[in-house]
């Protein structure tokens, strides 16, 4: 699979030497990614045992997954969605409803929520990709607002109250999730699997074509790629993974509420990705932990959180567009030269 990914590069790169170099860099990059991922996974596995509050970790991991899903679209497809909260929130509601009202076990509840987000992704994506750039952002935002009003009014979401005290249940019938630590490792497993899936997608031929479309859409079309279909697939995939984050989050916190469908949530995920580094693999994870940590820290300061969030946005856009991971990467590359 990986070899065919570089084959696509070879086809489009006229100079064969450059392709050879690219293959060497790619394998070095793969090794670096493997080391970093193992370190990250190990750190997360130990974290609750060295005094980090597991509930905080679970929240941050859910948002990290959400931000990674979002980054798949903006960082590798060049599509800025300003309505990703609709997938997070819808999946949360569906999985909470499935677990509480239908009495579904957690794995089925999460699957149901994820499927709902995927379905919504098909509909919203098919419409949104009809326009580009700024219009795409506005359409996704408007779509999300429509979903917000639907969730506000639909009877099964219980309006302002949300769906409360959702049972966590037993995973596959034998893992009791009411234990915080068991729940934590399940969330970690879900996160790591989705994270690896995203890495795989980015480095697949599909991901390479997506990148080509981002860089120069008319050229990709002239090479025979059906740009619309690739963009739609990326959108659906991103929506599905955002839904997975939302569904998991609803089971973890035993709550699905309007906060998760509100447009501020859509803005928050943009910020996490921007702060961590758009188009980097680890950026969204770093960004999500930074923002959730900040919100945790500032929880007692009311509206100052909004002000500081906005200020970080402004600073990132003006001076820090590569984000934390992007800047670190650039610094590292500069030092090696």
């Amino acid at each position: 699979m990986a070899r065919s990914a570089s084959a696509v590069i070879v086809e489009t790169t006229p100079v064969a030497v450059a392709a050879g170099d690219a293959a060497v860099t790619a394998s070095r990059e793969r090794r670096r990614f493997a080391i970093a991922t193992v370190v990250m996974a190990a750190a997360f596995a130990i974290a609750p045992h060295v005094g980090v509050y597991p509930v905080f970790l679970m929240k941050a991991l859910c948002f990290a997954l959400f931000a990674c899903a979002f980054n798949l679209l903006i960082g590798f497809g060049g599509l800025l969605s300003f309505g990703h909260a609709m997938f997070l929130g819808t999946a949360g509601y569906v999985s909470a409803h499935a677990a509480k009202v239908w009495g579904a076990p957690p794995e089925l509840a999460i699957a149901a929520g994820t499927a709902a987000a995927a379905l919504l992704g098909v509909v919203a994506g098919a419409l949104a990709i009809r326009r580009q750039g700024i219009y795409f952002a506005m359409i996704t935002l408007a779509f999300a607002q429509m979903i917000f009003f639907f969730c506000l009014q639909a009877p099964f979401t219980h309006g302002e109250d949300g769906i409360q005290s959702v049972p966590r249940g037993r995973l596959f019938g034998f893992i009791d999730l009411s234990s915080t630590l068991a729940m934590y490792y399940v969330v970690l497993a879900i996160f790591l699997l989705a994270f690896l899936l995203i890495y795989r997608v980015i480095h697949s031929p599909f991901g390479q074509v997506l990148k080509a479309i981002k860089e120069n859409e008319p050229r990709a079309i002239s090479l025979g790629y059906d740009a619309e279909r690739y963009k739609l697939l990326a959108f659906i995939l991103s929506a599905t993974l955002a839904g997975l984050a939302g569904a998991t989050k609803a089971i973890v916190f035993q709550l699905a509420s309007l906060t998760d469908v509100h447009w501020t949530m859509s803005g928050e995920v943009v910020l996490m990705t921007l702060l961590g580094g758009m188009g980097t693999i680890f950026g969204p994870v770093v960004g999500a932990f930074a923002i959730i940590g900040l919100e945790n820290y500032l929880a007692g300061f009311g509206q100052w959180v909004t002000v500081i969030t906005g200020a970080i946005f402004v600073v990132c856009v003006l001076a820090f567009r590569r984000g934390i991971v992007g800047e670190l990467g650039a610094w590292w590359a500069g030092r090696r030269r």
Binding site: R130, Y135, A137, I139, M146, L152, G310, F313
Partner: protein
């Protein structure tokens, strides 16, 4: 009581009026967005916050300086427009060479900062603003009661929108503006100071939002969140109308306001979502928007 389409005429015309009022605000705000977008290629997410600042500015003027409604109708747009010019000069101007999405992100962040600050100091409950004395009371039209202030809002916004249209489409200044929208470099080559024009255009668009805010203050109360929900609807209005024409923005704004009002009469559950549904339908049939051109 008389009925029309099975609905009491009182309710029907009442909602029609509310629809027209909302439409007036949609039109003024989407007009400002369209003017800014035309020249700067930036979607001004701060627009809602600037509309709110206009309302607050008139509140401050009355509260601390004793300046009444009519003067603040003139002063608030100038003051808020000036803050817009500062934002453009210090921040937006650095982003023109980059992807347009950065402009959206920056203005989104600014909107959060402004709204957060105002909510911090003034809470999220509304502050009352009295209707100016000349416009209290109303006229009985026989089939309905028309409050004078609401009639004024509709007339004033039509005049303002019409004047903006006239300046852009029929004057020399407007022709510079349209030319710069088409080809900035060429206009600059003719010796016209395009960067200054861009700055002033942004200031003007922001001023228009503030003007709408002052007009909204007596109707919706002065509230830090008043622009936040408005701006998303206005975005949908802009998508429906397309950014191509000034007239399109005005017509779409009023039209959608009326449709929203009528939905409240016939099917209230959908009144919040009807504009978004129309957006979906328009996207399916004419992706560039009703008055837009594909670019």
């Amino acid at each position: 009581m008389t009925e029309l389409f099975g609905v009491p005429t009182q309710a029907l015309f009442g909602q029609l009026l509310i629809g027209l009022i909302n439409g007036a605000f949609y039109a003024m705000l989407s007009l400002g967005l369209a003017v800014i977008f035309g020249l700067l290629n930036i979607i001004n997410f701060t627009h809602g916050a600037q509309y709110m600042m206009g309302a607050f500015c008139s509140y401050f003027l009355l509260q601390y300086a004793g300046v009444g409604y009519w003067w603040s109708l003139l002063l608030a747009p100038i003051v808020v427009g000036a803050t817009g010019i500062v934002i453009e000069r210090t921040m937006l101007a650095r982003l023109y060479k980059l992807d347009h999405l950065y402009g959206l992100l920056l203005t989104f962040g600014l909107a959060l900062v402004i709204q957060g600050l105002f909510t911090n100091y003034y809470g999220s409950s509304g502050l009352p603003y009295r209707i100016p004395e000349e416009l209290t009371g109303g006229i009985n039209l026989g089939f309905m009661f028309l409050p004078k202030y609401r009639a004024w809002v509709i007339v004033a916004s039509i005049v303002i929108c019409g004047a903006t249209w006239y300046v852009i489409e029929r004057t020399k200044l407007g022709s510079y503006l349209r030319a710069a929208t088409e080809n900035r470099a060429l206009v600059q080559a003719f010796g016209i100071n395009v960067p200054r024009m861009i700055t002033l255009t942004y200031g003007f668009g922001v001023g228009l939002a503030a003007f709408a805010g002052v007009m909204a203050a007596p109707i919706y109360q002065v509230n830090p969140q008043m622009g936040a929900n408005m701006i998303i609807v206005v975005f949908a209005v802009v998508v429906i109308g397309g950014m191509g024409s000034i007239l399109g923005a005005i017509v779409t704004g009023f039209g959608l306001g009326v449709i929203e009002g009528l939905t409240k009469v016939f099917y209230p559950e959908a009144s919040n979502t009807v504009i978004f549904l129309i957006m979906v339908i328009v996207l399916l049939i004419k992706p560039a928007g009703l008055f837009g051109k594909e670019r």
